[in-house]
Amino acid sequence: MTPPQRPAPQPGIYDTPYWRYTAAGELRLQRCGGCERFRYPPGPVCPDCLAQESSWERLSGAGTLLAWTVFHRQYFPAIEVPYLVGAVRTPEGPILIGNLIDTSAAELSHDMPLRAVFETLPTGRPADADTHTDSPGEGWRLCQWTPLETRPLHKERA
């Protein structure tokens, strides 16, 4: 029996590159070839100018905390409560969602600076082509956020 897992990413036609870059420890999003705005979530055209051309460009990994919630109700067996989910405003424009890690609710404040970190998640899921794991059998990675000041162990800088 494999242990219960987090819901894995389900890379679709537009999201596959995002997860491939995440697996490589890079936070990249589509940037419009027309108006140069960053776009999230990935999609077929730029919602601002409707241009179809885009390139996947790296974000700075900086952000500020727009809002957060503490989950007290368990929706997924693999994710123990309580856990933190934050909405993070990036200087590039998009608002991104991630878990706030290596911190606690008491340490959070609105608009505090955060930085992106990549968390490798343990999983019993066998490696296969769909998971885009960079290291087969070791699970997959998520872009998470942590207060700028902390020095987390076992995490890599974005």
Binding site: R6, L66, T69, H72, Y75, F76, Y83, V85, A87
Partner: protein
């Protein structure tokens, strides 16, 4: 742009003449015991029969059908034995609007709006990877790898930011649940009728902080039906009719998944647009509203709607709530049947039925004296709508 002159021509031309609802309270008790005797179509049929009885029309008079989201109009036509000339699907946001447009265009004269849902006994998921609505609102399921899927969690994020921006306290927000429970206690068909004090609210567990148990809507089975026709036909029925005086509608879908409309704008631009339309068309304003029904899958909808539709200044909802304005005897009665939090979670359909009952003066112990104008406001995930109803003799 919407044409004010064409909209003005629709004012008071359409009437709701019949309402029917299932036995929410009794069915909830049965569901809790694990008894399952009906499905979405069964609840819809119960409500439809009652709405027909209520208005005095017969099934043969019905030439249009709008089915709610949990049933298919074709199958509903089969179940109810009705061959209509025009049919459609709609959620509560659109149903009354679509019926009015269809009748005004002349494609139908008497439209039955029928909703049935067995969401509790069928175990409909509003959280988790397969949360309902994910195909329409990507945010409902998109963030599953981070453990964020429930709509409640999205509104919890909103509440977190909104509290920071406006200073709304937990105690003030709690007054939404307290006021609506006080109304539910006056409604024999409400699901939750036990007393709820603010201390009960504050000692209840968080689900997704800052939202607690009582900030979340019920999940129960039931059905609602409305019979809608022309004001002219309504007058011939010789029963109290309720006229549709105003409609307002605006979307806020851009950047929806990145949550900008929720967390930065609080849906205010769409609310302002819809408010301007509905009030202009009805020739009324917030101060004319005797009874207000607000879509409340979560308590935090209520302060947003109060501010977005001009019932108080931005950031002023907390004061209204703290004053007890929303409950029985208050100066701005909201969700007088108990709403989704304590009455019945009929996804906005029950709110229309309650507008009708209040304007007819048939709301029993919870009746708001001399109610002549009622408003419905909804801002579900960026689809903002509002309807203003008034008594035919008002």
């Amino acid at each position: 742009m919407p044409d004010p002159q064409r909209l003005a021509a629709l004012r008071d031309e359409i009437a709701i003449v019949g309402v029917g609802e299932s036995d929410y309270s009794q069915d909830y008790a049965l569901a809790r015991r694990g008894e399952r005797y009906s499905d979405a179509y069964g609840y819809a049929a119960t409500a439809f029969r009652r709405a027909l009885d209520d208005c005095g029309l017969t099934r043969d008079d019905i030439d249009g059908l709008i089915a709610g989201p949990a049933t298919a109009s074709e199958r509903l036509g089969e179940v109810l034995g009705m061959d209509v000339r025009w049919a459609d699907q709609a959620d509560a946001v659109q149903a009354v609007l679509k019926a009015a447009i269809a009748i005004h265009a002349g494609v139908a004269e008497c439209v039955a709006l029928v909703y049935g849902n067995d969401q509790r006994t069928a175990g409909t998921a509003y959280g988790g990877r397969d949360a309902m609505g994910g195909e329409r609102h990507l945010a409902y399921t998109y963030y599953a790898p981070w453990g964020l899927t429930s709509q409640g969690a999205l509104y919890a994020l909103l509440a977190n930011r909104y509290q920071a921006v406006t200073g709304l306290t937990e105690r003030e927000l709690g007054q939404v649940a307290v006021a609506q429970r006080a109304f539910a206690r006056l409604n024999p068909n409400a699901v939750m009728r036990g007393p709820l004090h603010i201390d009960d609210y504050l000692s209840a567990p968080y689900i997704c902080e800052p939202l607690r148990l009582y900030d979340y809507c019920l999940v129960n089975d039931g059905g609602v039906a409305l019979i809608v026709t022309t004001a002219e036909r309504a007058a011939r029925l010789g029963r109290p009719a309720v006229l549709l005086s105003g409609i307002g509608r605006a979307d806020h879908n851009r950047d929806a998944t990145s949550l900008r409309p929720r967390l930065v704008d609080f849906y205010r631009p769409a609310q302002r647009t819809a408010a301007e339309q509905v009030y202009t068309m009805a020739g009324a304003g917030p101060s004319d509203v005797d009874v207000l029904q607000i879509y409340d899958s979560f308590s935090v909808h209520v302060p947003l709607a109060l501010e977005g539709f001009g019932f108080c200044p931005q950031g002023g909802a907390g004061e209204l709530l703290a004053d007890g304005a929303l409950g029985p005897g208050g100066r701005l009665p909201v969700n007088t049947a108990g709403g989704h939090l304590s009455g019945s979670y009929m996804q906005g359909w029950g709110h229309q039925a309650e507008c009708v009952r209040q304007l007819r003066g048939e709301a029993g112990e919870r009746q708001i004296p001399h109610a002549r104008t009622a408003q419905y406001v909804s801002d579900v995930a960026g689809k903002v709508t509002s309807l203003i109803y008034r008594r035919a003799d008002a």
